[in-house]
Structures are given as structure tokens and as C-alpha cells.
Amino acid sequence: MIRLVGILVGLGFALVALISFVAGFITWSNEEAEETAEHAFHMEAHAPADGFDFEGPLGNWDVAQLQRGYQVYKEVCAACHSLDYVAFRNLEELGYSEEQVKAEAESWLVPGINPDTGEAMSRAGMLTDYFPSPYPNDVAAAAANNNAIPPDLSLMTKARHDGSNYVYSLLTGYNDPATYTNEAGEGFAERFPDSMPGTGLYFNPYFANLNLAMAPPLTADGQVTYSDETEATVEQMAADVAAFLTWTAEPKLIARKQTGWWVLAFTLFATILAWFAKKQVWAGLKPKRED
């Protein structure tokens, strides 16, 4: 009985799935497959020419690069983007001394209250403060940016696929849609005239739907003046800020990998011991020939 019911139920579900398949197949085969602009022109993120030092199981922070990236964030990105989960005290991890970080914090204005009157005011930042948001609230952020709220950058490199490379590619990937051609040599403007960016949108093949609301933030070499000898090309600034945002998203990245090696080494040793223990315990059980 149970098998009969089972066979009927099984045939039922299979039948309905196959009816769905046939219906789907008919629709699919009658439809002209229209290639979307995203499909034809979206580009996968790529690494900077020299890659990133923190990549790979043995990678480590390039502290000078993180400092340069912080400078780019501060002078360019911070005008619109918040960094909610990073506190000034965290900057010590970038190789600054406590005094330097204190001075740095004091150069930022954070919201506070007047200790005498309790009224809202701005005061100089302290070590324990978090980076202040450039806008008092989302409505203000939207109003100032053509209705597109600039996302918080703390976790950006983890919130996108292949995030560090994505940030670098996006920042260096702006193009003129009128003249842009993809690898197959197709011109964007000719292929998809309807997908041309509207007012306040900018063409960037690394962005998921190709047109984003952020104007190209890094436009000219030397936009930031680095205190070390590094030449501030657009690529350099993009790579530096991508490295900095990798640190803000995963400050424990290097500690994690370094811990990992010790843990793996110990586990490997213990596993080898366990293998020999197992062999030893089972050794007496091997079938023998009785000659």
C-alpha cells in the first residue's frame, strides 16, 4: 500500500515538474533571447598591476599603503561616505603612535553636546569616538546626492564579490559611454542606446548595472599629495584606498591568517600522530596467512 501511494505521489510531483518544464521550454524556445547590457558589458573586477600585499595565505599589510589609503579616504571619500564601524583608536593599527592618533582624532569634528547647556554642538574627536558621518541622517544624504544614499564604507570590501579588487576596479573603471567598446569590439552607445546613463549617472562597466550615481571620485593624478615619495596616480590612489577599506572591513585579517598557520601546524602534527596511533592499534588485526 505504502509503495503504491508512494509511486502515485512520485509520479504526480514528477509529472507537474515535467509539465512546468515543457511550458518553460516552449516559452523559452519561442522567445528571442535578448542579451542585456549588463551581460554584454559588465566586467569582472581585476587586481591592481602589483596586486595587494595582504592577498594570499602569507600576505601582510603594507602599512605605508594603508596610511596612504586612509589619506585618500579622508580627503576624497569622507566627503560623502561614512565609516561607521571604525573608531579613531583603531588607527593605531595603521602604524601611527597614540599621540599621532590623538592629534588625528582632534582634527575631526564629531557631534556632541555642550557640557554646560546640553545643547547639540560639534566638538573635536577623541580616541574613543567613531568616524563621524558626513550627513546627519539618510534623508540629508539622499537629498545631497540626487536621491542615492552613499553607502557606509566600513564593510564595503566584504559586501561585494571580490571586494578589494572590486573597489580598485570601480574607482579606475569610469568610462565615456559614447566611445566605450567591450572586448568583443562592440560599442556601448550603438548596442544599447537605451542603457546610456541618465542625468546624474555615470557609466562604469564594473558596476552591476553599469550606471552608478557616484561621480568619478579620483579624476586626476596628484589629487592627493602623499607625504611619502609615492606618486599619486589615479591607479595608485585607487589601490591605496582599496587596501585601506580592506583593513576597515577585516581589521583582523592578518592576525587571522597568522593564527591559522600555527593552528594548521599543530593540527597537522596531531593528525599525523593520530594516524600512527590508529595504525598501531589496528596492527594486530591484519589477516595473516596460515601456511
Partner: protein, 431 residues
């Protein structure tokens, strides 16, 4: 239970004698996973996965309890409290990544454990109850994992919760009130987050209870084995300790090596980037997918696209639940006299060339965009899935002629060499 030759626990010291008289816990452990539990001597490494699953459950409970000390189940601060764990709590990143990847590895282990059961027909009498309890544990695990994924309150948490609880809306008449009652609102919000946290903390202990029953039921007939031949004599068995404790110890080492590679070097590979974006009810992600371990069932859910008598959505929900409930009936659907796939030529072909490719396809398709041709492939795979368990298995198992089998486990271990004898099995070699 036991076999007559099972070793008996003999307390040697005053303290152990005292305990054995008043509360024989040491005796219980000795008989459950010690020398007092005789186990078939021919178990392969596929039999390690029960112990590994137990380890994963403990790992999840321990890391979970620590995380709960720092997490705040409030839709306004849940996302931030997870970041607080990642940044400010000492070793918080280790706890969270261990918990998140631990869930993935728990499911990997459990899938191997379940498919071991399929191939060796471990569900057959006299082990039906073990199998039924196992399916219950799997369902509890799915519920626990689903609710756990909601807790970080990222985009995928929110939208995953919305889609999955929305499934209840497909039930006629009571669906919508039921959905609102379950969520405590019209959409996932603080009420849902809080009850999910409460249940996510409760269910692992329910699972632990079900696991105790699962192991208890296992000890009545004893463990199955790769030949599927029941234990006939003492030489078919070995005491669990030290033989299988040693073997499981090595297996656990290999498991941990793999786990640590993910945990320390690619902890976000099995997750979804969108869950690092705080939940936003006003912005729908381009692709809403559950965690990878739900992909096969998600593919089945999305395979039904045609309103055949019932609405397509209802078909999808029914099929998704049925795809797991079917497992409850396996002991009675498979009527073959032989257990092990090694001696069932036709059954084996359908397993390797039917079920395994079908599951692999469903795993892939569940994570793909809901567009053609992926949906068509998941429709074919879904049809095969139901045919396999409900039609092919009953028919194949009644018409198939099994291959010749060894008389006993001992004979299987000795092989065709007529002059071979077993080594000493009374005591392990002195170290």
C-alpha cells in the same frame, strides 16, 4: 543491548565503584562509546561521519553560547553587535567565523552521513527508528540553521527570512494569518528577530536530545557495515574503544585540517557578500539565495512554475517539504532483501548515475539566477528526484537480483584467501 561477548565494565578503584553503584555514568559511557560496544570490524571511513556530526554539534553549541554573550537580538543593533564581535571582542572573529563555517561543515558532514545511509540502505530493518530520528534531526538542523542565518540582520538574512516565511503564505485560507502569526508582523522585523534568536538558542538542545535517542536506537541492533551482512559471531566485531576511537581520532584530524583552512584563510567563501550590507526592507537584492546547504531544496521550490490545478507556488512548497518527508518512508519503499549497494548492481547504477548527478545539479541550480535555462534543468532534476525515491527505488528493489554476498563480516574481511586467519582481536598491541 548487547552481544553476549560484549566486554563488561569493571570498576577498579573506590571512586569508580562508588559511582557505578550510585550513578553508573561511567558504565553508560563504556557501553556507548567504549570497549563495551562491539562494532563491525569492517567499517570504512564513511562510518566516521556520525562522530564528526556529533563534534560539529558540540562546536556549534560552544561557539554559539559565546557569541550569544555578545550578540544583541534587536533589529536596530543586531548588525552592529556582530561587527562588535568581529572587531572588539577578544577572539570574537574566531568564534563567529568558527560558528558560521561550522554550520557549513556540519551540513557537509551530515550530507555525507545521509548519503552513506542511502548507498548502504542503512534505513532498512532493524534500523528504521535510527533513520527516522536521523531525518527528524536533519529537519531540526535546517530550522536552526535558517533562523541562525537571520540573526546577523544583513540583507540576505532579511530577504531570506522574507522569502522562506512567505512560503507559508502559499497555504490556502490559513496561509496568510499563519505567516503573520509566525513572524509577529507583516514582514520580518524585531518581533521575528527575537523569536528566531530564542528558537535558535533552544533548538540545538532539542537536536542534542534527538541525537541521544538516535544513538540509543543505534545501540539496539548495533552499527551497520559496508557489506550489509549482520553480525553473526564475535570475530565479526571489534570493541569500539580503542579501535574506532583511534580511527575516528584520525578522521577528526583530517576534518579539522579542512575546517581550519576555510576558517582561517577563506572564512567568507561559503557565505554571501550581501549579508555584510545591513538589512534594508526597501532594497531588494538582485539575487535572493539561502545558504549553500539549502540549494537543492531551494531549486525544487523554484522548479514549479506552472499552475496545474493548484497554484505553482503551492506546488513548489509542497514539493520542497515532500522532498525531505519522502526520506521518512525509505525503509518501506526499498523492499530489496539486501542492504549494501555493493551487492545491488541495478540499485548502485541508479545511485551513482541518477541520484548523485541529480543532487549535484540541484546543488548548483539552487544557487543560480532564476532564469532559463537553469529553471528547465532544475525541473528535470526535480522530476528525477521524486522518481528516484518514489518510483525507481520500489521497482528496482523488487525486481533486482543481488550479487552473491559473503556469509559473514569475517569472511568479507578475509577475502578469497582460504588460508588467511584473523589477527588477534582480544587486545590491541601493547604500546
Amino acid at each position: 543491548m548487547s552481544f553476549p561477548w560484549a566486554k563488561e565494565y569493571e570498576p577498579k578503584y573506590g571512586l569508580t565503584k562508588f559511582f557505578d553503584e550510585k550513578l553508573p555514568l561511567p558504565r553508560l559511557v563504556y557501553n556507548a562509546v567504549g570497549a563495551g560496544y562491539p562494532v563491525p570490524r569492517n567499517l570504512s571511513y564513511f562510518w566516521n561521519f556520525g562522530v564528526l556530526a556529533g563534534f560539529c554539534l558540540m562546536l556549534q553549541i560552544v561557539t554559539g553560547i559565546v557569541l550569544a554573550m555578545h550578540y544583541a537580538a534587536d533589529s536596530g543593533i543586531a548588525f552592529g553587535s556582530v561587527e562588535h564581535i568581529m572587531r572588539d571582542v577578544n577572539w570574537g572573529w574566531l568564534m563567529r567565523y568558527a560558528h558560521a563555517n561550522g554550520a557549513s561543515f556540519f551540513f557537509m558532514v551530515i550530507y555525507i552521513h545521509i548519503f552513506r545511509g542511502f548507498f548502504y540502505a542503512s534505513y532498512k530493518p532493524p534500523r528504521e527508528m535510527i533513520w527516522l530520528l536521523g531525518v527528524v534531526i536533519f529537519l531540526l538542523m535546517m530550522a536552526t540553521a535558517f533562523m541562525g542565518y537571520v540573526l546577523p540582520w544583513g540583507q540576505m538574512s532579511f530577504w531570506g527570512a522574507k522569502v522562506i516565511t512567505g512560503l507559508f503564505g502559499a497555504i490556502p485560507i490559513v496561509g496568510e494569518p499563519l505567516q503573520i502569526w509566525l513572524l509577529g508582523g507583516y514582514a520580518p522585523d524585531n518581533a521575528a528577530l527575537n523569536r528566531f534568536f530564542s528558537l535558535h538558542y533552544l533548538l540545538p538542545f532539542v537536536i542534542a536530545g534527538a541525537v541521544i535517542l538516535h544513538i540509543w536506537a543505534l545501540h539496539i541492533p548495533g552499527s551497520s557495515n559496508p557489506t550489509g551482512v549482520e553480525i553473526k559471531q564475535e570475530s565479526d566485531t571489534l570493541p569500539f574503544h580503542p579501535y574506532y576511537t583511534a580511527k575516528d581520532g584520525f578522521g577528526l584530524g583530517v576534518f579539522l585540517l579542512l575546517f581550519f583552512i576555510f576558517l582561517f584563510f577563506m572564512p567568507n567563501m561559503l557565505g554571501h557578500p550581501d549579508n555584510y550590507i545591513p538589512a534594508n526592507p526597501l532594497s531588494t537584492p538582485a539575487l535572493i539565495v539561502p545558504e549553500w546547504y539549502f540549494y537543492p531544496f531551494y531549486a525544487i521550490l523554484r522548479a514549479f512554475t506552472f499552475d496545474f490545478i493548484l497554484p505553482a507556488k503551492l506546488w513548489g512548497v509542497l514539493a520542497m517539504f515532500a522532498s525531505i518527508l519522502v526520506w521518512f518512508f525509505l525503509p518501506w519503499l526499498d523492499r530489496g532483501p539486501v542492504r549494501s549497494g555493493h551487492y545491488r548492481p541495478l540499485f548502485r547504477k541508479f545511485f551513482w548515475f541518477g541520484l548523485i548527478p541529480c543532487m549535484a545539479a540541484l546543488f548548483y541550480l539552487g544557487g543560480a539566477h532564476a532564469e532559463e535555462p537553469y529553471i528547465m534543468f532544475s525541473q528535470l532534476a526535480t522530476a528525477y528526484y521524486f522518481l528516484h525515491f518514489l518510483v525507481i527505488l520500489p521497482i528496482v528493489s523488487s525486481i533486482e537480483r543481488p550479487d552473491p554476498m559473503p556469509y559473514s563480516i569475517t569472511e568479507a574481511v578475509l577475502g578469497s584467501d582460504k588460508k588467511a586467519v584473523l589477527g588477534e582481536n582480544a587486545e590491541p598491541v601493547a604500546v
